[in-house]
Amino acid sequence: MKLRSWFLVPAWFWLAALFAAPFAIILSYSFLSRGVYGGIELPWTWESYTRLFDPLYLGIFLHSAILAAGATLLCLLLAFPAALFISRTRRHKYLYLQLVMLPFWTSFLVRTYAWLFLLRDTGLINTALQAVGITHSPLPLLYNNGAVLLGLVYGYLPFMVLPIYATLERLDPTLLEAAADLGARPWAALFRVVVPLSRPGIAAGCILVFIPCLGAYLTPDLLGGGRIVLVGNLVQNQFTTSRDWPFGSAVSLVLMALVTLALWRYLRRQGEILV
């Protein structure tokens, strides 16, 4: 056997035992019935999938999709000017890139907690607002959709900046000179030359933000305080408190299918692999 084949053995083991096997188990659980005390039982049934069409669960999927789309859009609006700024500076470019990268290396948990600290009733923002006299009682900033949206945007913003920056950096400056020579005003050149040419970066950024936001569990749980139930929380709930493993498996598989579909559509359009 060649060296290459030996080297792939542990990876095949990973693929079979820690990737394919869990998937197969979830797939079979999703077609089984719920046991009386939790767990799973025969007979085989479609019931977990038909239950997904309950307006309650469709609503949770819709809520997740809207929050994920909103977070993606906000990230795009916030990240584009920042990426433009970094690509246009000549000095300290490396430093700015490092500043964007830094959150990758800091704990996601800690960064989410930071907003819990800032937004709570006795947090910095409410304390400051009351000290200045703008408000007299604490604003309910935490445990709502806005807090979750903010947490998602904050958590995944770097994923949007870097791919947009990468395309802006490769942009041919002579195209912009041509636009200016032909009489385009700076704003027109920005929206009709720079933005369209950075579309690959924008698409990559959007997919990198949308996918983790759609399946988010930690952010809605911590900043939504259990009041905001997204698909990720629904899955967790079915496997812990509700003890309905078949339904939890079905929800997981539908979530996986949605994520794969988003990725597949992106890859078909872009024709290249991420990273």
Partner: protein
């Protein structure tokens, strides 16, 4: 020839300041208030009382110890498996393995967590085992492998295949060429991959919380349980320590990747 001027260039600079403030001020305020003697968000005076509280909390110390053990073992395993895998894929690609790795990367964490939990529960029926440190380690290897393969593969793309061929032309076996030529060339990539695996392992809460047993509570799990009850100065202090720990890792990784032994010689 006219030059294109970015519209409102100076305003863009102001925006950038606000952008970086948004990105970094939350953690900075957190760190500052961890030194505040008052429990409330009003500055009282400098104090290390919350740091002392951390070191007298047995749960936190046990969590930190468990996290360290888990991170070190799972990083060693995933770096080994991932490096071998990246090398094998560099020799000849495998769509199945690459596809599975990318899919594991985009799978929502909670789905990875519950599917591994289901796998462990299912296999325990015959093995008579229960959740513990080793299930957490297996789970961490499962999700960090893709990161290792991607980082090492990126390094492999800068290495010329002629190098290995030359070694074998000069009489080295395939194994000798790998150990004496390829591995040294890959060291910066392997170290970067290991540090990445270490940080994702040390930071993970969602997957760990699903597969951990009673004896394997990690630092993020203890942290999360405390944060779920609301913010507190003790959590601020832990946050500052975790951030500082990760900061040291970045500096180490920067040092290693900038000091590249004979890097230019190896390029095409």
């Amino acid at each position: 020839m006219k030059r294109w001027r970015c519209p409102r260039a100076n305003k863009l600079g102001i925006y950038a300041v606000a952008f970086f403030a948004f990105l970094h001020l939350p953690l900075l305020t957190l760190a500052i208030f961890s030194f505040n003697s008052s429990r409330f968000t009003v500055w009282n005076h400098f104090s290390l009382v919350w740091y002392r509280a951390i070191f007298s909390d047995p749960q936190l110390l046990e969590g930190a110890w468990n996290s360290t053990v888990i991170a070190l073992i799972s990083t060693a395993l995933s770096t080994l498996i991932g490096t071998l895998c990246a090398y094998a894929l560099w020799k000849r690609g495998s769509r199945l393995v690459t596809g599975a790795l990318y899919l594991s990367l985009v799978t929502p964490e909670i789905v990875t967590g519950i599917s591994l939990l289901a796998l462990f529960q299912w296999s325990f029926r015959w093995l008579g085992l229960q959740l513990g440190m080793y299930t957490v380690i297996l789970a961490h290897v499962a999700f960090s492998l893709a990161y290792v393969v991607i980082v090492v593969s990126a390094r492999l793309r800068t290495v010329s295949p002629a190098l290995e061929e030359a070694a074998m032309d000069l009489g080295a076996t395939e194994w000798e060429a790998f150990v004496h030529v390829m591995l040294p060339a890959l060291v910066p990539g392997i170290v970067a991959a290991a540090l990445l695996a270490l940080t994702v392992s040390f930071d993970d809460y969602v997957i760990t919380s699903m597969v951990a047993g009673v004896d394997s509570q990690t630092l993020p799990m203890v942290f999360y349980a405390m944060a779920r009850r609301g913010a507190s100065p003790v959590i601020n202090a832990i946050s500052a320590l975790i951030t500082a720990f990760f900061g040291v890792l970045i500096v180490v990784s920067e040092r290693i990747s900038s000091r590249d032994p004979a890097g230019d010689l190896l390029r095409q």
